[in-house]
């Protein structure tokens, strides 16, 4: 069977329109490479992560007690069908503001994986969790100073219970700058005694085949047993609720669909761009198509022919994209994952599902969209093609234009003539602008967040105590009661921790709140109100995670406190609600640093510097996002602007030639044909901005669901200007090519014997 000779047009068409095909190829190839690279890494990470959890016997939950729990109580707890293991630790300061959580090597649960170097030996070595060590540039063989002791770093490790470095479960972000984990030998750990030790216990279900509901029930039994036996719990957390364990999984689970949506959106846009390019080619080759149809070529043969090149280009993009995806791209994404999380080593493997998603799906998208559009385009008769009657409705009246100069009316006609191109360009500009805004706003958003935390802090220092301790010498300080309660957060299907502040009715630190002992409702921090989507007058149920006692609170007002999810109420009322002593307190607000004589009573100190640390960590985590978003959006701008506006020139090439014959000068021709495109680009950049903002806010709301706190979305006004400027610079680069193109069109073209 003879092969269709029309195929011979492909290499010539590729050669004649190489700019067009290279642009589409680059765009698709980059998209597929990114997606393939991302999927290969995320699959590899997921596989390694899950395997490591199993191999290293990850805990199913943990609890922390104020004191060591006697063995007979442990045995009682184990009767619930669990195995409980001591997993004590100490929090040590290694450098100013940096906490290292030191454990002894584990034997039965949360086993350590050595990534580089060795496990510690003797009492003068420590193995550091890799991410903390690398972030703080601590090399193997270096020494770290802990409690006056110099410990040599024997190696880098990762721990299944610290895949994300959250110091506290309520922290908004993991923080590898200021928080890390170290492993020492049992001998070295024996040096820590008394109050510095945190009595942490990890447990694992004996029957690992239990369903999630059964596991939850069992954990409930464990907690009840602990409460029954009067264990003073300071923490009780299931692995699935523990951010240090579950955050990576949640992040991976949401990153993959987000990336897929982003990539497929680009491929869909490119498929539409291709269909516009083909439609334009069909318009210019109408009589040839009419001839072919008249000779007996079927419409499907014509569609097959015109769809051939887009599919060839997509296949080439998929092949090269996947090659790059598996060779060059993994470095970028492993850098992103391993720079944020503490993960075991992984291997890049060719994943059949990922391969299908990055080859078959883009080809299918290209095929379906182009087939639908071309079928519609070719629905006219062969005779209409021969007569160049390319629209079904030929009696459409021209749009009546307002009275204005010839140039203005001409430009409007060009816009009407190319409305589909310009509409697609507008959609593409919108899409690229969303990505650009996302990339550009991360840094100012974090700065704004940190700044607003610093400006709206209650006091320079918040001292949290293990038990009430009187310090008479502190005159500027003010006592408060602090309690953490949980509330159900429906969008994330989990409980979130909310800090309750019981504040003095005549507080000098929070004077703006009208607090009274009468049960008149509570104030929510604005972040909490926004996160839970509550307004004044609404009621919210909170629960003590240990006792399971429930409290229903009415929202009386909103207090601007960006540092966290908090509820503010009268101290007396909170003490009464929690059945505490009337005068109970467990914290001090103070603007001056307090030197405590008895450090044992001090649980933690929260300073404004801690908030800045958070900003550093967030900036570091998202630092790779900004250039990536900037790169992607500029590529989209350039490619779409080039392809869609080039068609306008190509379509009007003969008319431009005529204009030259008539005596129009090149700058006048540019005003006629290019200014209309310039106007559309500027209008698209400006008009889509509000929509970009709305989309951006919606995207951010989705991101915020994942995190424990609330970060107010902030897009400074200058960013809008930056987006328009970047869009315009991209356009004028393309415009320059078009100017040259117009100048190249010769007068003789118009004089040639054409139909």
């Amino acid at each position: 069977m003879m092969r269709n000779p029309l195929r011979k047009r492909y290499p010539r068409d590729l050669k004649n329109n190489y700019g067009r095909y290279i642009a589409v190829f680059l765009m698709l190839m980059a998209t597929i490479a990114l997606m393939s690279g991302f999927l290969s890494v995320s699959d590899g990470v997921q596989e390694a992560f899950i395997k490591n959890r199993e191999d290293c016997k990850l805990e199913d939950g943990l609890f922390t007690s104020m004191q060591e729990i006697p063995q007979e109580i442990i045995r009682k707890i184990e009767l619930t069908g669990t195995q409980v293991f001591e997993n004590y630790y100490v929090n040590e300061t290694v450098e100013a503001g940096k906490t290292l959580r030191v454990y002894k090597d584990r034997e039965h649960i949360n086993l350590v994986t050595v990534i580089e170097g060795n496990m510690p030996k003797g009492n003068k070595e420590i193995a550091l969790e890799r991410l903390f060590a690398q972030t703080n540039q601590i090399a193997i063989g270096d020494s770290v100073q802990i409690s006056g002791k110099k410990l040599k770093v024997s190696g880098y490790v990762c721990l299944p219970d610290y895949s994300s470095l959250f110091e506290k479960n309520s922290d908004i972000m993991m923080d590898s700058f200021h928080f890390g984990v170290g492993i020492v030998t049992e001998e070295a750990f024996a040096d820590y005694t008394g109050d510095s030790i945190v009595y942490n216990y990890s447990y694992r279900y004996k029957d690992q085949s239990l369903s999630n509901d059964q596991k939850r029930e069992k954990s409930k039994d464990v907690r009840e047993k602990l409460v029954e036996n009067n264990v003073l719990l300071t923490n009780f957390c299931l692995a699935e609720d523990n951010n240090s364990i579950s955050f990576v999984e949640d992040d991976l689970a949401s990153d993959v669909p987000l990336m897929k949506v982003l990539m497929y959106m680009i491929i869909i846009i490119m498929a539409f761009v291709f269909s516009i390019v083909i439609s334009s080619t069909i318009d210019s080759e109408a009589t040839s198509i009419g001839t072919l149809l008249a000779f007996g070529y079927s419409k499907s043969e014509i569609i097959h022919h015109y769809i051939g090149l887009p599919i060839i280009v997509t296949i080439c993009s998929a092949v090269v994209g996947n090659l790059l995806g598996y060779t060059a791209m993994p470095n970028l994404f492993t850098g992103m994952y391993y720079g944020s999380y503490s993960l075991p080593p992984m291997k890049i493997r060719i994943n059949s599902e990922a391969l299908l998603l990055t080859t078959a799906v883009p080809i299918l998208i290209m095929l379906v969209i182009n087939t639908v559009i071309l079928t519609h385009k070719l629905s006219i008769s062969p005779l209409q093609f021969l007569r160049r009657e390319l629209r079904k409705r030929t009696n459409r009246k021209p749009v009546k234009l307002p009275k204005s100069s010839f140039f203005s009316r001409f430009r409007l006609r060009v816009i009407f003539q190319n409305r589909v191109n310009y509409l697609t360009l507008g959609i593409g500009i919108f899409f690229a602008s969303v990505i650009l805004m996302f990339g550009l706003c991360i840094s100012p958003l974090i700065e704004h967040y940190v700044d607003s935390i610093q400006k709206n802090t209650i006091s320079n220092y918040q001292y949290i105590l293990k038990y009430p301790v009187e310090y008479d010498t502190i005159k500027t300080s003010e006592r408060f009661t602090l309690k953490s309660l949980d509330t159900y957060y429906k969008p994330a299907h989990k409980d979130i921790e909310v800090v309750f502040y019981g504040i003095n009715e005549k507080s000098v630190y929070v004077p703006e709140l009208e607090l009274s002992a009468k049960n008149e409702g509570v104030y929510f921090s604005d972040g909490l109100a926004k996160k839970l989507n509550k307004e004044v007058g609404d009621k919210v149920v909170f629960q003590d995670s240990y006792t399971k006692e429930k409290y229903t609170m009415e929202l009386k007002g909103i207090h601007y406190y960006p540092a966290g999810l908090a509820v503010f109420m009268s101290q007396k009322e909170l003490n009464k609600m929690l059945d505490y002593d009337k005068e109970y307190f467990n914290g001090y607000f103070s603007n001056d640093e307090i030197k405590f004589e008895d450090d044992n009573a001090l649980l933690t100190v929260v300073t404004t510097k801690d908030m800045v640390k958070l900003g550093d960590q967030m900036s570091s985590s998202f630092s790779q996002m900004a250039p990536l978003c900037l790169g992607i959006s500029i590529i989209i701008y350039l490619v779409l602007m080039y392809l869609l506006t080039k068609i306008v020139i190509d379509k009007n090439a003969i008319h431009i030639s005529f204009m030259k014959v008539f005596g129009y000068e090149e700058n006048e021709i540019r005003k006629l044909y290019l200014t209309s495109t310039t106007l559309v680009v500027i209008t698209s950049l400006l008009v889509t901005l509000p929509l970009v903002k709305i989309t951006m806010y919606k995207c951010f709301e989705l991101v915020l669901i994942k995190i424990s706190g609330y970060i107010p979305i902030y897009v400074p006004t200058y960013l809008y200007l930056e987006i328009v400027l970047i869009g315009l610079i991209s356009y004028f680069a393309i415009n320059y090519l078009h100017v040259k193109r117009i100048n190249r069109i010769e007068m003789s073209d118009a004089l040639k014997n054409k139909e």
Binding site: P5, R9, S288, T291, A294, F295, S298, P382, L386, N753
Partner: protein
């Protein structure tokens, strides 16, 4: 002058064909009860001024348009009742077209343009022979824009002919050409008819061309003005206008 032998086996018949365009008051009847028949292996020239309906009749025969009334029969099959798919098959198997403006594919060479239709045929003519017959052998690897108008039309004829169609439809084949080139093209059509015995219908408004035809159908205002057999066929090279 050469007297041609007349054959009685008609391959086509057109019976009471009507065709109108437009709607309401703007409706114009372009063909009004046309009836005729075309004999196999003969050249027929359809003559008439602009708006007489000659191109419309050609399009109806080609199945590019549908009749409003009447029937078009080929080998006892009613073309006018064919669905779109069967019409496509009919055009593919039976017809060749030559247009006034060639309609060649610009980025295919002469030979490749002809191959486009060779592909459609189960029993195509040998392309190389055809290229020699067309006088395009030396130009076979050129693109259409490297050819003169006459050479492009030769290529278009070759493209139509390579399928060895039963019926070759030529719509103003010399309309875009000068006198000398037009005669060359007409001579080519004539030689093709003699060599391959295809039935050829030429639509033209050039009165002189009728002399090379075996049958002359004159249309005026959508009606048959005359339908005659040319007893004295003039060779194309002797045509004058």
């Amino acid at each position: 002058m050469v007297k041609q032998e007349q054959k009685s086996d008609s391959i086509f018949s057109v019976r009471d064909v009507e065709k109108s365009y437009g709607q309401g008051d703007a409706r114009v009847k372009v063909l009004n009860g046309i009836s005729t028949q075309f004999e196999a292996g003969k050249i027929c020239v359809i003559l008439g001024p602009s708006g007489s309906g000659k191109s419309t009749l050609l399009n109806l025969i080609a199945g590019l348009e549908r009749v409003d009334g009447g029937r078009i029969l080929i080998e006892n099959e009613e073309v006018s009742s064919f669905d779109a798919k069967r019409l496509g098959r009919y055009r593919r198997d039976k017809l060749g077209f030559v247009f006034q403006f060639y309609n060649l594919i610009s980025n295919l060479t002469v030979k490749e343009n002809i191959e486009v239709c060779e592909y459609l045929s189960k029993n195509p003519l040998p392309i190389d022979d055809l290229l020699h017959t067309l006088g395009l052998w030396d130009h076979r690897n050129k693109f259409p824009n490297q050819l003169s108008g006459g050479q492009q039309q030769r290529c278009a004829i070759g493209r139509a002919l390579v399928k060895n169609p039963a019926l070759l439809l030529c719509d103003e084949p010399t309309g875009a050409l000068d006198y000398t080139t037009s005669k060359e093209i007409l001579e080519l059509i004539e030689s093709i008819n003699q060599k391959y015995h295809n039935t050829i219908i030429i639509v033209t408004h050039n009165e002189a061309i009728k002399n090379m035809a075996h049958k002359i159908l004159k249309l005026h205002d959508g009606r048959v003005l005359s339908d005659t057999v040319n007893e004295w066929v003039t060779p194309a090279k002797e045509l004058e206008w």
